[in-house]
Structure formats: C-alpha cells, structure tokens
Amino acid sequence: GDQVEQSPSALSLHEGTGSALRCNFTTTMRAVQWFRKNSRGSLINLFYLASGTKENGRLKSAFDSKERYSTLHIRDAQLEDSGTYFCAAEDGSSGNKLIFGIGTLLSVKP
C-alpha cells in the first residue's frame, strides 16, 4: 500500500476559519516536508521538519516520527491560501528520497 496517506483529499473553508491536514506514514520516516502548489504549478516550500513543530504565520506543522504522522494546521484562512497542499516524507533508508502524499485541494471561500 501507499507509504504516505494524506487526508483529506479536498477541503473547503470559509475565510477566517481553520482546519488541519494530516499525513500518516506506514513506516518510520526521517523527516517530512510540506508544500503548496501555486497557480503556476510551482511547489512552494512551507516546512521541513525532522521532529517537533514549526510555525510560520498562520501555518503550523508537527511531525511525530515515532507515531508516524505529520499535520499541517491552517488558521484564519485567506482566499490566497487556496491551492493544493502536499506532504512528502523522507524515507531515510532509501537514499533520502521523498515520497509524496496524494495532495489536498484546499478551497477558501468568502
């Protein structure tokens, strides 16, 4: 099965609200990255975590290698937050390759 299970696949939020995206891993991962794909198709780095939590503005991410999951919290969502979000986990036993989740399509509405 898939090593990185990302949920939800789609999420709709009203402006000013928040929610969380989650990635579960079937094996122990060394690190995780979160990206947002912008309207031009570019992957924008949001976070890199080897452990613990990081916060940047209205985004906060956590990674627990032992419990095999990572989350991305969005608060006070804005229209420009819309896009597709991906988590990608690093399987340290496979030469640092990133395994991507399926992505979450976030739509923020007025």
Partner: protein
C-alpha cells in the same frame, strides 16, 4: 536564497520523439537532484535520484534507457524523455538539495509535457 530554475516550463512533442528538460540550482550546491513526474490524476512519483559521485538510482518502472539523466556539476542537471508516448505526459519536477547543508529539497517550477 536557494532557488531552482527549471526549463522549459511547457513543451509539446510528437509521439515517438524526445525532449530534454534542464534544472539550474542557484544559491546552493545541488549535491543531490531528484526527478519526479506527476501524471494526470496522480501524485508525484520519483523517477530517479542523482547524487554527485554516486551512480544515478532509478525507481522501479523507470530506466536510464528511457529517462537518461545528466548531473555533471553541483549546479546543473538535465533529464531527457526518449521516445515519448501518451503515457509520458505530465508535470516533471526536479528537486535539488545540498546534502551537506540544509535538508530542504527545493523544487523547480516544473516542465509540463504534452505528447501529441
């Protein structure tokens, strides 16, 4: 800051022909370069991982004969899609990192391949 430039942004090729895409790392040393493909309705799939001074490692279902990769120095990598067919269409991304410094993988903007 660290940037990865990838070109072309879009390309269209006839079935059976080949196309080459390139990546340039700026602001850091790309000791490791990974090439991914996102096919329609799918997530990003690793094609191969290239590390300086090591052999290029291809994932299952991808071969050097079909996707030859060059990584001649710490700032440049290229990949060619040989004999492209409909199933090769999608968004190709290169991601680069400096294994000796920051762990973050930086991605280019992608090359969208359309095969006619």
């Amino acid at each position: 800051g660290a940037l990865v430039y990838q070109y072309p942004r879009r390309t269209i090729c006839k079935s059976g022909t080949s196309m080459r895409m390139e990546c340039q790392a700026v602001g850091f040393q790309a000791t490791s370069v990974a090439w991914y493909r996102q096919s329609p309705q799918k997530t990003f799939e690793l094609i191969a991982l290239s590390t300086v001074n090591s052999a290029i490692k291809y994932e299952q279902n991808f071969t050097q004969e079909k996707f030859p990769i060059s990584h001649p120095n710490l700032s440049f990598s290229s990949m060619t899609v040989l004999n492209a067919y409909l199933e090769d269409r999608g968004l190709y991304l290169c991601g680069a990192r400096d294994l000796g410094a920051a762990e973050t993988l930086y991605f280019g903007s992608g090359t969208r391949l359309t095969v006619l």
